[in-house]
Amino acid sequence: MIGRLLPLIVFLGLGGLLFAGIQLNRVRDSSVVQSPLIGKPAPDFRLPELLDPAREVARADLLGQVYLLNVWASWCVSCRLEHPVLEAFSASGEVPLIGLNWKDEKPDALRWLRQFGNPYAAIAHDPDNRVGLHFGVYGTPETFLIDAEGTIRYKHIGPLTFDIIDQQVRPLLRELRGEG
């Protein structure tokens, strides 16, 4: 009896396994790799400002405030998708938005800003991935929430949406403000 049912049992077992694989991927996209940097001090950086090369954007100068570091590039299609969300969030004035222009050509980046608008308080220019690499950036857009002590509290991979800001970023901001 059991011998006859065995192929069915094996089939159901395999089916279950594959289904679990699909479900897992639905809950957590397997192409998203969790950053080991959350809870750790943000890597030190000092880069020229994209719009005003006489200025610099540096971790040391940003200490003492909570800010979002958004990694973007003009060649990045998802960044265009994300752009209106950033504009709206930046306009709300809840948290300063610092850009990290990553692996991008300066003229392209400037054209992009002219065309779509500039939601950033300052933009660090990192054409050679000298800083992005230390942040473990492997695509755009990526967004880090960095607290007043310079610790990375949160990372989002992929474009930010209004839902993600409401459900993940804002509660964390409230928590950080409560602490401070």
Binding site: G3, L6, S31, V33, Q34, S35, P36, L37, P43, K103, D128, N129, L133, H134, F135, G136, Y138, G139
Partner: protein, 149 residues
């Protein structure tokens, strides 16, 4: 025809093209770099290692690995440097940990389950056969195991 043959012969050189020319000082350094690049994952393509990938990010990481080598870091220190930034995922051979046990030993486990199942089935068949045989032998007194299969 001769040109075609030449092109054909040069084809394997394309396989090496993914590695951008880095100023290696000797063969040994190049071999060491290759070994490292082969066991590090390209984060963008995910199923390719650093040595094989043409992705711009892989190029950056190769440059970084090379710079770290030049700074005198050991292979382990370079691996740790990358894991601290990109997580264990950057290693093509994941470390053995509680959450990678299934990954490492899952195939052996499945094989074991299969082996047990086969053993059980074979044994049961042999028993059934022996039982059948028992009836037969009482009939003609000349058991022949081979033929009963």
């Amino acid at each position: 025809m001769r040109r075609l043959l030449l092109a054909w012969l040069l084809l394997p050189a394309l396989a090496l093209a993914a590695i951008d020319p880095l100023p290696f000082k000797d063969r040994e350094e190049e071999a060491r770099f290759r070994n490292l690049a082969e066991e590090l994952r390209c984060m963008v393509c995910q199923n390719q290692n650093l040595a094989d990938s043409d992705a711009p990010l892989a190029k950056d990481l190769r440059r970084e690995v090379f710079d770290l080598m030049r700074q005198g870091l050991s292979d382990d220190e370079i691996r740790t440097f990358l894991v601290e930034r990109y997580s264990d995922f950057v290693l093509y051979r994941p470390p053995i940990r509680a959450n990678t046990m299934l990954l490492w030993f899952g195939p052996a486990l499945v094989l074991l389950v299969g082996a047990v199942a086969v053993t059980l089935i074979v044994r049961r068949r042999a028993q059934a056969l022996a039982a059948q045989h028992g009836v037969k032998t009482s009939d003609n007194d000349a058991p022949d195991r081979e033929e009963t299969w």
